[in-house]
């Protein structure tokens, strides 16, 4: 074949690229597992401190998005908890790095400075045992306390930690839905109630009575009148006689809205039920079919849907609010 013909050139180029591609794919196959292992190995010692013997995996690309610039990496300790490495700049311009570990029940089980250059005796107190003890007594819904004389550093630590908390709560929010319905029969079981309380970031039900707490974590025993839906922040405004435009807060702060028609203190129907998180799969079951509420009164109890605890709460909250508003007239 003539060396200068176009076909020859195309074939040669294609052949070269194909060989190059194969070599690269082979090298990739060989080296990628080693690289992934190294990524964990370097922090494994630190991770083992918090969850000895657990199986770790690097889940940074899965959970740490650009919305959380202060969080560097996230690791999952299988069935035990999550660990985050964060950074921020305190008093010293070189900044600091720390690691914070949450166990699956929502409490902070570990906090440790990794690299810091803060003023000794002042900012460095944020990485010393006294403060570590304070932090490890908290849960993922708490803000870290400040140390007087080291306010700049501790505020910076707190800001970074709150981002880690936000990611953790978001993760647990997802798993909390699944585990709360699975544990629906174990009403008084400590693990069930603590999992839901850790998942409900803004939930004020930690302060409400024990019976309310366990009843809101189960799916069957609360009624619309007695259930605690304060965390859903439901509110309704009457748009015409018996028709209410309602809104509430569902999963991860998504706003949920509906038009609820009430007659004779019973819900006729819930129409136009939709939420900001529609399409995410979370509350979609409700958005497509809310007929379970047809005919409900304040004494009815409606099952929450598995995998959609927050949205169920939001819908029930709106239904309760609408019924109460109708009864209040």
């Amino acid at each position: 074949m003539d060396k200068n013909s176009s076909t020859y050139k195309t074939i040669l180029l294609a052949a070269v690229c194909a060989i190059a591609g194969t070599c690269l794919a082979a090298a990739n196959a060989v080296t990628k597992p080693v690289i992934d292992e190294n990524a964990i190995a370097s922090v494994k010692v630190t991770l083992e401190q918090f969850f000895p013997g657990a199986e770790f995996s690097d889940v940074t690309s899965k959970y740490v998005t650009k919305d959380y610039p202060l969080v560097d990496a996230a690791y999952e300790a299988k069935d035990k908890g999550y660990i985050f490495t964060c950074h921020n700049t305190g008093y010293s311009s070189s900044g600091f790095k720390f690691i914070i570990a949450f166990s699956n029940d929502g409490s902070i089980v570990g906090y440790q400075g990794l690299e810091q250059n803060e003023t000794s005796g002042k900012g460095s107190l944020a990485f010393e045992q006294a403060y570590i003890d304070e932090v490890t007594a908290l849960t993922s819904s708490d803000t870290l306390p400040l140390i007087s004389g080291a306010t700049i550093t501790t505020t910076a630590v707190g800001t970074a930690a709150s981002q880690a908390e936000a990611i953790f709560n978001k993760i647990e929010g997802i798993s909390a839905d699944a585990s709360s319905t699975a544990a629906s029969t174990a009403t008084a079981s400590a693990s069930a109630s603590t999992t839901t309380t850790s998942g409900a970031t803004a939930s004020s039900s930690t302060t409400s009575g024990a019976s309310n707490k366990s009843s809101s974590s189960t799916t069957t025993s609360d009624t619309l009148g007695t259930g605690d839906y304060a965390s859903a922040n439901a509110s309704c405004t009457a748009s015409s006689d018996g028709v209410y435009a309602c809104k509430a807060t569902g999963f991860s702060g998504a706003s949920v809205t509906a038009t609820i028609t009430v007659k004779d203190n019973a819900i006729v129907s819930i129409a136009d039920l939709t939420g900001q998180d529609k399409g995410d799969g979370v509350g979609d079951a409700w958005y497509s079919d809310a007929s379970a509420f047809n005919g409900a009164t304040l004494d009815s109890s409606i099952d929450a849907l598995s995998g959609a605890t927050y949205t169920s709460k939001a819908v029930k909250g709106m239904a309760a609010a609408a019924l109460k508003a109708a009864a209040g007239k």
Binding site: A20, G21, L24, A25, A27, N28, K66
Partner: protein, 190 residues
């Protein structure tokens, strides 16, 4: 990230020539005359902008969905070479005047470290498309700024009494070192 801060930091604070040491070959070769410096700078801005945006798209719209991230280096460099060829042909046909002014520099730009570096930096820093565009204009703008400053200094240097060993390129590096000190003062700006 604030786009203005990104622009200033890419152009002045993390200047690609003085802090990252890239683009040194044209830096030494093209800065003997001010006109050639300006011409080269303009050509580089255009090439880097085009090539970087295209390679960003190639990476996120082709390589990532196909799980071929390790092909990044090869595909980028081929894309850059192809883009430069295309620009050269386009200029030759449509604007002979511009081709005469810029055309000689274009083949040099293909192997210029700056282009590949900016294209890769946009990926490793995880910039969005808009941030990529800002970075891809700011970085070569910084390069052009350096070229122009350097060319004016060198033109003046030619009349001076420089020790024989340092004549030519070595003194240019000393000047670059002093410029590096001057520009490091901008570090705290953003």
């Amino acid at each position: 990230m604030n786009l203005f801060a990104l622009f200033i930091s890419a152009m002045l604070i993390n200047n690609i020539v003085l802090t990252k040491f890239l683009g040194m070959c044209p830096f030494m070769g093209v800065t003997t005359k001010l006109d050639s410096a300006i011409g080269m700078g303009a050509a580089v801005i255009f090439v880097i902008f085009g090539a970087s945006v295209l390679s960003w798209m190639l990476y996120y719209w082709v390589l990532v969905p196909l799980n071929l991230e390790y092909m990044e280096l090869i595909t980028f460099i081929l894309l850059i070479a192809a883009f430069v060829q295309f620009v050269e042909l386009f200029l030759k046909k449509n604007s002979p005047v511009l081709y005469k002014q810029l055309g000689i520099y274009l083949p040099l730009i293909t192997t210029n470290c700056t282009v590949l570096y900016v294209a890769q930096q946009n990926i490793t820093e995880g910039y969005t498309l808009v941030q990529t565009m800002v970075n891809s204009v700011a970085t070569p703008a910084g390069f052009m700024l350096m070229l122009v400053i350097f060319a004016t200094i060198r033109e003046r240097l030619q009349g001076n009494n420089i020790p024989k060993p340092f004549k030519g390129n070595p003194i240019a590096f000393v000047v670059a070192g002093i410029m590096a000190i001057a520009f490091s003062a901008l570090a705290g700006l953003v």
